[in-house]
């Protein structure tokens, strides 16, 4: 490695915008970001929605009128994507924990599948929502 990369050409700092992340790293950081967003504002918003859904017919109607707004639908669509990505990346993680798919090609393939399934199911959920 030392001979391949002479000292003056090595990066002096880690600039995240200059590093080309491999696919598993992208899946991993999205897993983390989606997890944090599902925690906040995800959980409190979910509880607000659940409360409105189950409290009374009036609050149920109010929830429906909020969810009809295109902006809240877009928001819901993103929430769906975060949830699905977190779920699929989590399933992938469980597989890795059990030593499935540890080889580089397999890890890349499963990363692709996580991203593709997350996106496709989000689109399907969007079609179902509208």
């Amino acid at each position: 490695m030392e001979t391949q990369y002479p000292g003056r050409r090595r990066p002096k700092y880690l600039n995240l915008f200059k590093i080309r992340e491999p696919l598993p790293a992208i899946v991993s950081i999205l897993h983390r970001i989606s997890g944090v967003l599902l925690f906040f504002p995800g959980i409190p918003l979910f509880l607000c929605g659940l409360q409105m859904m189950l409290e009374s017919p009036e609050s149920f109607a109010r929830l429906q009128s909020i969810l009809i707004h295109p902006l809240s639908r877009l928001f819901l669509l993103f929430a769906t994507w975060f949830f699905l990505h977190h779920l699929f990346a989590g399933i992938r993680h469980l597989g890795l924990d059990m030593h499935y798919g540890l080889q580089l090609q397999h890890a890349r393939l499963s990363s692709k599948l996580v991203l593709i399934f997350g996106a496709i199911l989000t689109v399907l959920a969007g079609i179902w929502l509208w």
């Binding site: 944090v36 859904m53 189950l54 009374s56 149920f60 109607a61 989590g90």
Partner: protein, 117 residues
């Protein structure tokens, strides 16, 4: 001579438990998600009364609470890991961790109140 203790109060527990808890709660939530999808497909609830009666079934309430409690525990492990990675000053990290625990306990009580209140 007594060796100085170098364990950090906001650090990990240096063990396997949290790792395992995160995986077990993840499986519980994944199973519950599948269950909920089946319930919605079978019952096809549309109005208030139908949703209300669906979430009045006792085993649905218990399964929901199990899932939500699992979510809280899962979120705690995850958020703590994130805080340990990015927030280094001990006081700020501890404050954020305490805020997360208080919030999650509050959410759990809120959830109980919604389903049983």
């Amino acid at each position: 001579m007594v060796k100085p203790v170098n364990r950090i109060i906001t650090g990990a527990h240096y063990g396997l438990r949290d790792w395992l808890v995160q995986r077990v709660t993840a499986v519980i939530m994944a199973v519950y998600t599948g269950l909920l999808i089946v319930l919605v497909v079978v019952y096809q609830p549309e109005g208030y009364e139908e949703f209300k009666s669906l979430f009045s079934i006792q085993w649905v309430k218990i399964a929901s609470l199990l899932c939500f409690a699992g979510l809280c525990w899962h979120a705690w492990v995850g958020v703590r890991n994130v805080l340990m990675d990015y927030v280094h000053p001990m006081f700020i990290r501890l404050t954020l961790q305490v805020m997360c625990i208080v919030a999650l306990l509050g959410y759990l009580i809120w959830f109980l109140d919604i389903l049983w209140g």
